[in-house]
Symmetry: C2
Subunit: 196 residues, 2 copies
């Protein structure tokens, strides 16, 4: 009986190996050779799943993005709007080991997408997805009559998005310079300044 | 008569070559070999100036940081405070080719510093320098009686800093998604929400 290999499952195992290599040694060391070694595969076998390094990277970035979405779907959305929104926004900031690894991978990939046209569409997709979340948050605040009058939805979406990504980057780059409590306070304060 | 080589000048030439390689091909291609080639030097000659790749990277990051400081020193600080501050903040956002290249190099280096302990101190230094600018801005607004009452200086410093770095990152990564005019509006609006 031939050995049955679950193609999709095997790709996920490779993606997890890629994440470990990026986390440990940085994106420059995340070569096909090193990822294959980490996944206990030959370079030839790995090429069976991903014909190029860019393809492997794109799959891994998508894998991380899906993991974030699944976690958000499992969240509890009961409670005061500002607390619920704050908790949702904190899912995009590396405040624990799991989200930290995800954000490092995202940052490494997005940086690489700058010079790799193959990764650009996925990088745009992830950008748009997160922008949609920000836009949805501002819209819900407005619709529920919680915001100050004359609020500019587009501007507040872009401002919130930049704030969240900036906080995320500061925590990734300089984890000892800004604490989880400070992030909490900043987000809560920002939401309060938008509201009555 | 022996050939006189200005050691410091030569290091700057190498840094400029490194910037061009990073800009064109990304940080992974910014190897000692490729940078030497770009600078028309042999790998051996380049090692005369920088004994390791990390040393070369650190020098280049410092070179970029000094260039930003020099440009800010030449700025005109006359005019209404919010306009002056907005123009100062815009120096840290890649709105033209010069600042764009600087920010790409900064992002590439900061990302690399995550896995290169040699680059970490310089990455911290650049972080602290920019945080000092943000803190100075908030302090001046408060001292000049422009801000709303009960403003929290530390929190507003961190919030402004995250906003500016987030905007910078969005412009680097997705230049067609957010315009220079939008950045202008967001910064001006943010400053206005801090003020009376």
């Amino acid at each position: 009986m031939p050995k049955i290999v679950d193609h999709e499952k095997q790709k996920q195992i490779v993606a997890e190996a890629a994440i470990r290599v990026i986390k440990r040694e940085g994106i420059e060391q995340a070569t096909v050779r090193n990822i294959a070694k980490e996944a206990n595969l030959s370079v030839g076998s790995l090429r069976h799943y991903f014909s190029t390094q860019s393809e492997l990277y794109a799959f891994t970035m998508n894998f991380v993005s899906e993991r974030v979405k699944q976690r958000i779907k499992r969240m509890n959305f009961d409670g005061p709007p500002i607390v619920v929104i704050k908790n949702l926004l904190k899912e995009f900031i590396p405040l624990n080991e799991e989200t930290r690894v995800e954000m490092e991978v995202w940052l490494a990939f997005t940086t690489k997408a700058l010079v790799d046209p193959y990764l650009q569409p996925l990088s745009e997709k992830v950008y748009e997805e997160l922008k949609f979340v920000m836009s949805y948050i501002i819209e819900k605040l407005i619709q529920n009559g919680l915001t100050k009058p004359h609020i500019n939805q587009d501007l507040e979406t872009d401002r919130l998005y930049a704030l969240i990504d900036g906080l995320a980057m500061h925590i990734i780059m300089h984890p000892d310079k800004i604490s989880s409590d400070q992030v909490d306070l900043i987000i809560e304060h920002h939401l309060q300044t938008l509201c009555k």
